[in-house]
Symmetry: C2
């Protein structure tokens, strides 16, 4: 690939050029360092969007794209399929809504597969996010479904993480997802025209009251939206901007991004080290049977590693 | 420490001997391998008990001890404080209840601190569980409070994990904990004499219906208990036994224990490797700034590691 020409095309809105660069970065192609160098910098707001299937994530993402486009901003979306046993990997089920933006050269949407191992998502997707920022997108949305680990990784990737809920799906079922309550920067109660929206807001407030927060810490706003009608979008966009301001105001943004990069490096390093320092089934069986202790087994692994 | 004498005393019900051995194992004392060798084998049922503060875990654990003692079984409890920001580390708040068993030489109860890093819990506590089993305890209970990671680790330690819920605490708040829904082998709706118990059971069923299960897979029973009155305890004990039978019936038990041992070894190995292969802030900042890519940074770490 001729990197500088492809980068120039991508910046000018050529989606196939964007796609080629993303593929190279995700596959850790030899051009990786050259692409990184040609696309450094940028100033995007990076927003993670997560929540159970059925809460209307794709509709909200589409509405968010619309709101930002109305402000003249270029928007990219990475839709991550975490292959969760819960979600069954249903991804952007109503991709149709995205068709609203199909002809807009300043919108780029792409599915990203997870690598099936911890850290895989962070490693590949983190580089993709940085690339999109470097290509001049003003907002990068990382959308995911699933439970637990995938969402925590998303939070690691994003500056601002939105947790979507919807009323009328059964409080408990919704809140299963609220295991990710720790990582949300904004709560969005979507489908707020349905009965139960206020109850959902109350439940979130109740959950929030369980968390201790020091002075100066971020207090997550709760935004009610009806995404398919655009209701609440202004408030949501303002909330995202406000969180971004809060992050930038005190080196938190730089620290988040540095920590994110460190996590990505660590993921690659640990994948390699796990290959070099293998814990065999045989060794584990000896420990399980009490024939040797964990420390001794660990020494064996470290000595045999290369 | 004179290992064989201490082990003999511990087997005879000397709690101070049990405590000395546990301390040695947790601290990875030089006697570790000798202790492991002197205490291998055993046949305990290992039960994890988890759930939000206030659901009555300690009361239930106490009732479970009573039920097993009535069957003549020796019971040990490890109470883990995950130092969760959510729980504030409140641990066995009503330790008083445990006083029921204070004079019983066949009951051993101990608090275990987490090590403040991922894997620390698994490494130290796994060895402690194996030791207690090897000392002739017929049941080992690992109790924890907290959200997320700690509970997932507990599930890794236990053969059978109980997730406790209680009615009337606000469905959503309870179910925050249900982020751990994936790791529960039995659901226990405690305080089932309170209003809302049936609704809680319904909510759990609704959550369960979201999970696909193949043929032959375990279908989690939901047991209603009023622990302080001993109600539902027979059913709970039977449910635990049934799960254990299911595990043992098809090499699943051996596989769980082997995987657990492998995770413990890996935790120790990775702690050491993280020390040897350090990802510096400086390197992470270069990646965050787009000056080098992740692969290059990872290579640097791997080359500089020792």
């Amino acid at each position: 690939m001729e990197v500088s020409g492809t980068v120039a095309s991508a910046r000018a809105g050529d989606r196939r050029a964007v796609a080629r660069l993303l593929t190279a970065v995700e596959n850790r192609a030899p051009e990786g360092p050259e692409i990184a160098a040609a696309t450094k910098g940028g100033d995007a707001v990076i927003v993670g969007v997560t929540g159970s299937p059925g809460v209307g994530k794709s509709t909200l993402v589409s509405a968010l794209i619309g709101a930002w486009r109305a402000q003249g901003r270029r928007v990219a979306v990475l839709a991550v399929d975490p292959s969760s046993p819960f979600s069954g990997g249903a991804l952007l089920g109503d991709r149709v809504r995205m068709a609203d933006h199909a002809l807009d050269r300043d919108v780029y949407i792409r599915s990203v597969a997870t690598r099936g191992h911890l850290g895989g998502l962070a490693a590949g997707t983190g580089a993709a996010v940085r690339l999109l920022e470097g290509l001049g997108f003003d907002a990068v949305i990382v959308e995911t479904v699933g439970v637990g680990q995938a969402e925590v990784e998303i939070a690691g990737l994003a500056d601002t993480t939105l947790l979507l809920l919807a009323p009328g799906m059964g409080d408990a079922i919704q809140a299963v997802k609220a295991g990710v309550v720790e990582i949300a920067d904004l709560y969005v109660v979507n489908k707020a025209d349905r009965p139960g929206a206020d109850a959902a807001v109350r439940d979130i407030r109740a959950m929030m009251s369980l968390v201790r927060r020091g002075p100066g810490e971020w207090r997550q706003p709760i935004v009610k939206t009806v995404a398919h009608q655009g209701e609440g979008l202004d408030e949501l966009v303002a909330g995202i901007a406000k969180h971004r301001e809060w992050l930038a105001g005190s080196d938190r943004l730089a620290a988040r991004r540095r920590d994110r990069a460190a996590a990505e490096i660590r993921a690659v390093v640990e994948t390699e080290l796990r290959r070099r320092y293998e814990v065999t089934d045989e060794l584990a069986e000896h420990v399980a049977a009490g024939e040797i202790d964990v420390a001794e087994a660990a020494r064996t692994v470290l000595e045999n590693g290369a």
